[in-house]
Symmetry: C3
Subunit: 488 residues, 3 copies
């Protein structure tokens, strides 16, 4: 902490360099402890979003595919853990490197170091990577072969997502706002917690998967009209939504990584206040989106629908994620309001083009995420941008009088992400499709994947099935996996 | 940090004012970072109680009203977010103001400031406000029109609750223990985390709502005997209870707002220890209440009943909330023991007077909350009161030798809260009742609100319903909302 | 913080003792605030594992016993809270005392002290109830509720605290934190977060309970073949597993108790980094075990099974718990891989021996926990052992070149724990069995305990049952959704 010692030494007297060093080292240790506490618990919160995804997905599919979708969610985390450890983190943050991809710290080699990248940073970024994979698994639910799932999930968390996060979040990335110099449009992209980097990536990947697979059987009837295939449990949807909301307090405010830097020392004002503000903007955007969806859907369908409200809420969160740290609370309300309309519009559009996404993941994360990136370029406040991104030339929101350079950078961000994910993931899904590895057979789809692939249904509420199988003296899990055995 | 500099400057030598300032500013920054980390994560925990409420409520109602009750819980948080942001927080903590209501910081204007109120304080208080609304929604579950719900929830979180919290928690409040002078009965009210401010408010509001609506159809049979309308899922009740328990560790210990103040410097002893003690008293009160309920109910009904144990546990928490920071751990055991008896007694009484509260919310939060307020006045320990409320004249528990002034103040608190909530919320419910906006029709109630208002049942465990509705080539969610279609 | 004051006073000049004290006191206060924040939130996370256990257990049993198993999980926490407060914590950490059992600080007397604060009690309580939660899984679906209350109190109040005293307190005979130099084999046991102290204890207790009770009716058919009695909800299993995973971030990294200690001052390097590394090793072990189980089970049974994957994941966590703070991340991958194989092996063995454990708790926590203790003796890294256990002679993993002393101590740990828990809990279960208090009647078991003991089934999805046509009183007939009189 050279600055601290340099400041303090002359104050203490001419010969007090050692004393100043000593005191400043203690301060630096103290803020490392606080910042790591903050970052680790934020990482745990982000991890808890995986539980949220699992429950949200489980509740949104039909009972016969519950085991399948939950397994994919558990494996997102598990596969992500290994692949992000082996090379994902290195691709994303292995500096020094070029603007396109990182190339150090494979398998966490020479971590911790003075960059400073510590284990807690890895853990935090891993939790983000698996969130992106979780988004995609929702889009292709109920009709995808399990092997295809294993392949795309590894590829997404191990390569596609890390590269994007390198571009916009690493100090070397070509679009990053943390570069030492040579910013994109003299501005760089402000995607604070990843409306673009996480949500658009996950959403566009899901979009291609779902497009190439086509809709689920029965989703559009013979005359082409849309038939809702309701999820089997609204309770799980609400549970998942609340867990995601809870975890989002790690996702957005946690993206500061550190809480102890001050803006004006000895005063009440520092990064801790910005962290609090970020939590508030996040809350307000989600709340507004939920209420907008409530009344919007009431007008459109005549129902007060809780699952729609949950999706609206999440759309608001996905949108505010890019700008959460640099906008005023009142702007967050605008962000949430528009996000809800964007989601409703995207859903209408999806229905019209016969696009089937069981969790509305492409619409929600792709659509609202893109709106969030644009929103940041319109409403980022000068004061907050200056504080949160101190090393970067101050370019802020168009509507706040900051000119169009930030907006230009953000439009480029959206285009580049959509292009990159389409090229990589679109190609991958297409190859899987050609090799007949993507979609399950029609019989499997009608029977449900739990019966055919995952050893039985998720629920056994009534005992008879079981007693029957006992009577038949069956072996471990062979017949039991057919609770209504065809031979009877 | 004037004190710190003033203390340190002479120690460092005659010309070291600048050095002392510098060092003390660093310390002050450091404690801001720690305290905000502490407060924010506590706020996240309190927010997770909303998930707990949602699951507890969902499990405690019949399957046909699950969508309805979960929607109210999601909207508590969403409506609360907007209204508490716009004026609730200003009414509660907008100082300087009068003893009755705050009047600054509307829409978080001039936050953060040196009061110091920061964004994290808003977030924490918002999480409290939505908890109060959540309590009330339990009492009037399964029979209330959705519009009535929207109205009372906004009114409660936007006005009724903020005013009460201003009285007892703001530095200006007439009953507050944080006043600069002129304390109520020379003592002020010690309602540390809100047995009165949160739980009695929520409970009494629910009481009036449920009283004016009357019991659910079938709750009392023709001969007037009580018939239990069992909730549809004990699993959800347990899930909700554990989430509430988890969140209560933010609610009670978090109410210190800061963890870094020391009581004896350079020693192991400071507010961090008091925070830990608060978590322990909270735990012990809940555990004791759970065990008391277990054996009490076993004697009364012959069953070991898990949902009753869960309610008893929550009753213990609601009771310890007022005194958690100022009582000894052994006193918390007494608190929990009596709270369980109070709850059992209130439930007996409710049955006798044919009062129907699907979640026992009025009994639990109103009854046990009131006991908690009294308990604090009896058992508050001198040492802890001195430490936790240093600026207030030391009046402590009657049974600990502290005299009756604290008890008098607490009795006044209960009376005033009951009066205020009855006048405001009672009147509101009565007006809604007169305008026929309060209760749903008997047909709707028998069919369940999910079918008639919320677009279908929460659960679709078996596929046939769905396939059937597909065969009928129905449009989006029209017939599907009737899983057992009457036309067949 | 005597050293801080002494260091700083000499730097500031001869007359600055007062200033040095003042500044150092501020630093101490600051560190206490940070460390307590860290420890308390870790304790809350560990507590959330109780929710995980409840949901995991509920999902793994049949619908007719759901109320029963959830009640036991709620009561683990509640009885644990009282008994651990009254004497458990005193037995475990009541310094100063002998190597076998603590005998101070009953009912949190003389707390806070410079060594133990309320936050330590809360953290240890959350551990104690986890051990009881493990055991309740093994004996699920067939145990009388009264015997459950008895063993749970005994386990959290006495058996577990004594074990944790041995290995974790400054007085324990095998502890690596001893204050004198009399370490077991000159090494002491490195069981950082309790693969042995928590998981082997819970698993062995469950093993004896389940052995003495015998398998559930229908678990093995007349010809002796194994019949799976599937749990009623895989969703709850996944929910529980994720909550346990979430909570494990309090369990393992939280076991440092403090985050602000420095290893090299003024640098980026201190205990906060070790805490982060611990979270990473924990994650990697679990992830590897999950993937190993996925492919292993696919080969063995032909299914991609989510509940098996969840169990594998938890097995990986149980195994890494012992060494999480002292092994390299790559070693954690080995730990998880072997843990998954251990679990599969133990399950095969259990089936062969007709041992019935509804949650595989004895296999998972006992088997993988024991592997974890050995793993630490093999792979503990010299550098990390030196940092994390700074007062102890540096004996580290056999495969890392540290010699066999640590491994010897770890083997002794397993043997002693198995012996102690068998003697205490085995005897207790046997006595309950002899008194006819352990197992429920066959009729009750077939009907399900929820109907017969707990006032009705957990689920009422269809309304007809609940309608009051039959003019019944409060919860009497209601508790029979398929009333026999019809």
């Amino acid at each position: 902490m050279a600055t601290c010692s340099g400041d303090l030494a002359p104050l203490l007297g001419p010969n007090a360099t050692a004393a100043a060093d000593y005191i400043c080292n203690k301060f630096s240790d103290s803020s490392f402890a606080v910042d790591n506490t903050y970052l680790l618990f934020s990482a745990y919160l982000v991890f808890s979003m995986q539980l949220g995804f699992a429950m949200l997905c489980a509740g949104s599919v039909r009972a016969k595919n519950t085991m399948n979708i939950m397994l994919t969610n558990v494996l997102d985390a598990a596969i992500g853990g290994l692949f992000y450890y082996l090379f994902g983190f290195a691709f994303a943050f292995g500096s020094p490197s070029n603007g396109f991809i990182g190339r150090h710290h494979f398998a966490l080699r020479s971590i911790p170091n003075s960059s400073p990248i510590d284990y807690s940073n890895f853990l935090y970024q891993w939790a983000f990577a698996i969130a992106a994979a979780g988004i995609t698994s929702g889009s292709i639910a109920e009709r995808t072969q399990f092997v295809a799932y294993l392949i795309y999930s590894s590829f997404l968390t191990g390569f596609v997502y890390p590269v994007v996060s390198h571009w916009f979040w690493a100090t070397d990335g070509w679009g990053s706002a943390f570069r030492p110099d040579d910013f994109l449009f003299g501005s760089g992209v402000i995607d604070f917690a990843g409306s673009g980097v996480v949500h658009i990536v996950g959403g566009v990947a899901g979009l291609w998967g779902a497009l190439i697979e086509g809709p689920r059987i029965g989703r559009f009837d013979h005359s082409g009209r849309s038939v809702a295939l309701r999820g089997h449990s609204a309770t799980l949807v609400v549970l998942g939504t609340f867990m995601l909301w809870f975890g989002w307090y790690g996702f957005n405010p946690g993206s500061f990584n550190r809480i102890s830097p001050f803006y004006t020392s000895g005063n009440y004002y520092g990064q801790w206040s910005a962290v609090g503000r970020t939590a508030v903007t996040t809350t307000l955007a989600g709340c507004t989106a939920a209420l907008t969806t409530l009344f919007g859907k009431r007008i459109l369908t005549g129902h007060w629908n809780v699952t729609d409200v949950c999706n609206g809420l999440l759309g608001g969160f996905a949108a505010i994620t890019a700008g959460c740290s640099v906008v005023e609370p009142w702007a967050a309300i605008i962000c949430g309001f528009v996000a809800a309309l964007v989601l409703i519009g995207c859903n209408k559009l999806a229905e019209k083009v016969k696009y089937d996404d069981p969790l509305e993941a492409a619409q929600l994360h792709g659509g609202c995420g893109a709106w969030g990136v644009i929103f940041t370029a319109l409403f980022a406040s000068e004061k907050y941008v200056r504080e949160v991104y101190p090393s970067r030339p101050v370019r802020y929101g168009l509507f706040m009088g900051g000119g169009g350079r930030l907006l230009a950078a953000h439009v480029i961000q959206i285009l580049v992400i959509v292009g990159w994910v389409s090229v990589t993931m679109g190609t991958l899904f297409y190859i899987l499709h050609k090799f007949k590895l993507l979609r399950i057979s029609a019989e499997d789809e009608l029977a449900g994947m739990d019966l055919t692939r995952h050893g039985g249904l998720a629920y056994v509420y009534h005992d008879e099935d079981e007693n029957e199988s006992q009577k038949q003296r069956t072996e471990m899990r062979k017949i039991e996996s057919h609770p209504t055995p065809p031979q009877v």
